[in-house]
């Protein structure tokens, strides 16, 4: 079991006003993980991982990061992270955007695009007219 934290990063921030770009999807679908944890999972950096919480699962691309404590992963805030974040707030108004237990499994599946995720939730992709 891993602990998922989400948060801002500068690259996420740079793309946040242009969310339908590929660059945004790249950034927001990155799973930062300690290199030793990657080794334990028998994975290489850049391979895809399915991250599953009690609320859903999503495919992300791994990126190794020694600054993280072992046993934790970090995903920039955005639609990918939110695909597995619980909508409950403990009646405080604020969801658990941090400190969420998740399971990680290697996958060969492609990452979805941000529009794929929105369509899974009942939305409709917007392509420039």
């Amino acid at each position: 079991m891993f602990i998922l934290n989400t948060g801002r990063t500068i690259t996420q921030g740079r793309h946040v006003e242009h969310k339908f770009h590929q660059g945004y999807a790249e950034v927001a679908s990155t799973c930062f993980i300690h290199p030793f944890d990657l080794m334990d999972l028998d994975m290489e950096e850049g391979e895809h991982v399915e991250v599953a919480s009690a609320w859903g699962s999503v495919v992300l691309k791994t990126e190794s990061c020694e600054d993280l404590p072992r046993g934790t992963i970090f995903v920039p805030l955005g639609p990918f992270a939110n695909h597995i974040i619980p909508p409950r707030t403990h009646s405080t108004g604020m969801p658990d955007f941090k400190n969420i237990p998740v399971e990680l499994t290697f996958t060969e599946r492609e990452r979805p695009t941000q529009w794929d995720l929105m369509e899974q939730l009942g939305g409709k992709r917007y392509e420039t007219l």
């Binding site: 921030g13 939110n82 009942g122």
Partner: protein
């Protein structure tokens, strides 16, 4: 043409020293801005006219039609949610409150997913704060707790703390001590004099321990608290007590983690305790450029800073019940107007799913993830680029954001003003 001292409408720092070069009504250069602000000023992908979801696709519609749709949607709803507001200027937020009051809906801003918990804490114990210049000119100890300014507020340290000149400091950079408290070693942690790494979910315990040490009861604190040794906590307290002016800044690392607002309350009570020994202040690192403005406007107009429910005519406030996440996750609204915000991207999926089930109007200059859930989207001018108005910095200082290019689309206040006027007409309110 060059515009000087332009205000950046990106984050709560509201840097007001940008230089924007404009040619043929297009921005071609940004000086002094950070990478986040620059990206916003240089952004190009805007919608040029309202769009409507049409079966399996999208069609462009007129402003007239879009406004009409919005008016009908709001007036027909039993419990409409009016959400967003942090990405627009104060004048538009005021109209939003009047609209909400008129239709009997719920109005909430992105506060509920950033510093809402800080407000709940302030409502319990108050807030010893100050404007950022007070910190810049005086602070010799700066604590960043659960925030990463180098990535989220890139100029915070250079304008207001570590790297800024201070009147009372000869060599500010050397004289200021920086303490970073976080669960991971962030970019900001790398430049800290002291990095305190906490186990996830352990902030509250560490804050309690610090308070006990400040009160002289350190001997009762266990040797290790949530991954932090007592000796490091004692060192931290000594640095704080020795400070002439200490400033705590905190971010989503405290508001979003376990315990939510109780973490902030504990941090504020630590600052209260330190204030008995020396000068100490605490400031939330507000995210959106005008999220604090939404709190100010909502407060003077309704009495409450966010999550206000007007369904019963009077203002009712109960974050956890009247806040956007809870309303959507519990499917407690039947229409939604979203202004300058992107819950599609930034809310947990359970919330977005309800948006797919109800009529939604989005007012936003650019297509966002929320566009996917919109029945209608109305593009507007960007506040701070081609529309002007009031914004409130993270410390409460009001600044007027400017217009550097001539708008080709109406501003938020104009579109909302139009909707409100039509609503008043339809309800016979003069």
């Amino acid at each position: 043409m060059k515009h000087y001292d332009v205000v950046c409408p990106f984050c709560g720092c509201l840097c007001d020293d940008l230089e924007i070069t404009v040619e043929n009504n297009r921005i071609i250069g940004v000086d002094n801005g950070c990478t986040l602000g620059n990206a916003k000023f240089m952004g190009k992908e805007r919608l040029s006219s309202p769009i409507r979801r049409n079966g399996d696709g999208w069609e462009t519609i007129s402003y007239e039609e879009a406004v009409g749709y919005t008016v009908d949607m709001l007036l027909e709803a039993d419990r409409p949610l009016l959400y967003g507001w942090s990405g627009t200027h104060g004048e538009a937020q005021c109209t939003g409150v009047h609209m909400c009051e008129l239709v009997g809906g719920i109005i909430d801003s992105t506060t509920s997913v950033c510093h809402g918990p800080s407000i709940l804490a302030i409502q319990e114990v108050g807030h010893p704060g100050c404007t950022l210049g007070r910190v810049k000119n005086r602070a010799d100890v700066v604590i960043y707790w659960g925030c990463n300014p180098l990535e989220a507020h890139p100029r915070h340290m250079s304008r207001y703390t570590t790297y800024a000149d201070g009147y009372f400091l000869d060599n500010a950079f050397r004289e200021r001590k920086v303490i970073v408290v976080d669960v991971r070693k962030t970019e900001t942690a790398r430049v800290a004099d002291e990095f305190v790494r906490i186990k996830p979910g352990g902030d509250y315990a560490v804050l309690s321990a610090l308070r006990a040490i400040v009160r002289g009861k350190g001997d009762m604190v266990p040797a290790s608290v949530a991954g932090v040794s007592r000796s490091q906590l004692e060192r931290m307290v000594a640095m704080c007590k020795d400070a002439k002016f200490g400033a705590v800044f905190f971010g989503l690392g405290l508001t979003m983690t376990k315990g939510k607002y109780k973490n902030i309350r504990n941090a504020i009570e630590l600052v209260d305790e330190l204030s008995r020994h020396t000068k100490f202040t605490i400031t939330p690192m507000r995210g959106h450029w005008n999220v604090y403005g939404s709190n100010e406007v909502f407060t003077w107009m309704t009495g409450y800073p966010y999550a206000i429910d007007f369904c019963r005519g009077i203002a009712f406030y109960n974050p956890g019940e009247t806040s956007a996440i809870d309303i959507l996750a519990r499917k407690e609204c039947d229409a939604c107007l979203i202004v300058g915000s992107d819950p599609g991207a930034h809310f947990p999926r359970g919330c977005a799913e309800h948006l797919a089930d109800i009529p939604v109007v989005v007012i936003d200059p650019v297509p966002t993830m929320t566009t996917a859930f919109a029945n209608v989207q109305i593009p507007v001018a960007v506040s701070g680029i081609d529309a002007e108005g009031t914004a409130y910095r993270m410390d409460g200082v009001p600044i007027r954001v400017k217009k550097v290019i001539e708008p080709t689309l109406p501003s938020d206040s104009e579109v909302l003003g139009d909707i409100f006027a039509r609503m008043k007409e339809a309800t016979g309110y003069d």
